[in-house]
Symmetry: D2
Subunit: 251 residues, 4 copies
């Protein structure tokens, strides 16, 4: 195709290739989801439909980008990790970040009606970043960090909303009440005041959602790779040992 | 909120701040849109509903990111230019790229039903990149490049689909017929064989879509900033002169 | 030449090209020069031989890299500015930084004996960084920043060493005496206590050294480009106007 | 110290921190050394004094930057590898590159007279780059690449200069003669025509120079870390095993 004399402006593009042979983690985060979840009347402290929608969006990304071998999500965020040998888009940072973020957004909207009766009032958006990890230990600790964060936030939120919804405190008073408390205090409030044993709360709320590739035997005997949703502990090594075949763990 | 011992993995994040005081252009591109437009039966060579949807998505981005002072779109791509003084997200490249791309994607899906009767078969996605321009001349030439590209592709496609749809050529034969032809040859084919005067074709197809902020007087007398869609020539300086108040043209 | 199977490790190299069409400023700084100047018995507050050596080193860099159109030095630092259109080493950041720094270092050592009787006790080193400037105003302000810094430091040092050398204060007492003083206080101390009119102090100490390319008529009538050392004010526009032909000032 | 109103220009500086926890290799290369070695009458194909000077310069760098645990040099280049945990200069790329390059240059000039009778005619310079390696295997292969390169070049040069110096061929004819030859051909030429057994040539020419830290028992019984020069094979694992205590090999 003919080229114009203006073509030279392409020369301003700079290369943004990421280092070879390290794990790339792309984390997608909801933008302004405090307002979005309120406007769309998400249940507090956790809305199962909303989490299922996030999981569908993440599965959508993984189906389209098979170099992603694992994803972990909680609240309004999702992390995707690529095989360290991945050469997707020549490892160009902007391509990888924007594609993951766009796919996630697109699957989120596409699947909205599957999980919510009421239509979207306005379009939600996400941002994304990429972080490189050269060591398996730090890869595991990255996911441990996000799962620990899920736990810390969920314990707080569970307690906060019990105080508000059942304890009839104002949100301000609930906040004051929790100010300075540690984990055991919050467990105690939940148990003694509201009869809630935190450990009996649904695992998906306490542990977040992990998605890995796994093999399934089809009726015709063939093996097929399918996505499997887990809500287990991923801080403990047992997860990494159990799923080692599906995970890119070689150093 | 409490922090876990895993928090240290954040230290792997690298700064990706873009140079101050230069124009940032983010270009969003459809991924696999050849297949997407075929599967969704877009009219060839141009589908007005599809272009209107792209324009809605671009207006959505501009409404949310007021530092974008102009956008230009054609085919399955859209370019957004930020004021050179913009400090959005501390000018972090990944934040800017991912947010623009996610917002565009989200508004595209959100508005789909407004333009198309049939629902989406699967979710489309986009990628994005950012390019920096330090000179006004090159900013103008960037948009000239995209508009020249629009013209070159549209003339080719208009001719190609006339040969296929009206000339009953196979796509392969149409391709062969156009191989090696220059603009005047294509204009001649359109005119002599199909009675089409290329210059009479709708401007939105030949020139693409340009969106700028403009002022509108409300009934109460107040001035309001609104988005205005244009389909004019933006290679010529007259566009830049006419809209200079809305454009960030200071050097 | 034959290639080994190990050649693939080159693929880890990342591109570090700098944005086109902006001014590149490389600033070279002495490493540990507090100790170096003491060990080599530089005169305080200013050692003319040391400054002449710095200027020789800077001229050496400019002779080898003709895209540098101006340099400014003071104390143990020197800044070099490249034409905005420079394509030296494909604008690769590491090449530009390391080459300027190495050339400066090399000319510094090469010319040492020209300025100092005693040999070097150990080899001094420098570091370097590059900063990009898209606007002429900021280019001028960059050099104004360094010249203002020269003035501030030199006034302080002149006063400090007068108190120590002539006032017989300990360095600690001199420091205390100057703590909290403003410019006028220091001028007053110099004048009333030591009879020094600061404005009569040699310009090279107060203004630093500026080097530009200028034209010289040879005996045979030909015009030759030569390096010219100036010690004038470069904050004022008159410098930029006078030397505009030698400076890359086009926007 | 007072700050000027021009200080804001610092905000144009961009962060260039290198990824944590990967090996950083800085390679320094002579600039225009073909001409430099000719002008300074270096012996061909190898000048022992010149190699000893390079080794002194490399030792100088390692003495000043103790995070460098190994260096390898051949011809006019030297590679320095930093401990993967190094936090030198906050891992800022420009600081690391420029400092290594400046120190190398400075020690090269400082030690010139120790190795050469005639003074430098003009100051030589070097450039430098940094490459990141996340895997031990690739670190080893990086050094294998440079040593294989040393071998390939040295065999060629040994043969070329034998043909010129002893065979009395013009440089052009020597080049033609070697065009298309493989290693065994060159070994054969050396042996049959000039009686040279390539494997008997001094190891420093065939293998290059490797410097590591090693421990030495002082007279007073204390252990001191000293730099050790080796000319052994570093492609073979035996080097890595022997010196594993001095090398940063943990994954």
């Amino acid at each position: 195709m003919a080229k114009s004399k203006f073509e030279y402006v392409r020369l301003y593009e700079l290369d943004d290739k990421l280092l070879k042979n390290v794990w790339m983690v792309v984390r997608v985060d909801g933008k302004g989801f405090h307002k979005f979840t309120t406007d769309h009347k998400f249940e507090k402290p956790n809305d199962l439909a909303a989490l299922n929608l996030m999981n569908d969006a993440a599965k959508g990304v993984m189906s389209e980008l098979q170099d992603v071998f694992m994803a972990y999500g909680q609240s309004d965020e999702y992390s995707f990790i690529f095989k360290r040998s991945s050469t997707l888009y020549g490892r160009r940072s902007s391509k990888i970040i924007s594609t993951v973020c766009s796919m996630f957004t697109s699957h989120y909207l596409f699947n909205w009606n599957k999980h919510f009766k009421d239509p979207l009032i306005y379009p939600p958006s996400f941002d994304a970043r990429v972080v490189l990890y050269p060591c398996l230990r730090d890869v595991k600790n990255y996911f441990s960090w996000r799962q620990a964060d899920c736990h810390i936030n969920n314990l707080y939120n569970t307690c906060f909303w019990a105080l508000v919804q059942k304890g009839k405190l104002s949100t301000l008073d609930a906040e004051k009440r929790l100010n300075g408390t540690v984990s055991s205090d919050k467990n105690e409030i939940l148990f003694s005041e509201f009869g809630i044993n935190y450990n009996n709360i649904s695992e998906i709320y306490r542990k977040g959602s992990t998605i890995v590739w796994t093999e399934k035997k089809c009726e015709n005997g063939r093996i097929k790779k399918v996505l499997q949703l887990l809500t287990c502990d991923i801080i403990d090594n047992s997860f990494w040992n159990t799923y080692s075949a599906s995970l890119d763990l070689k150093v």
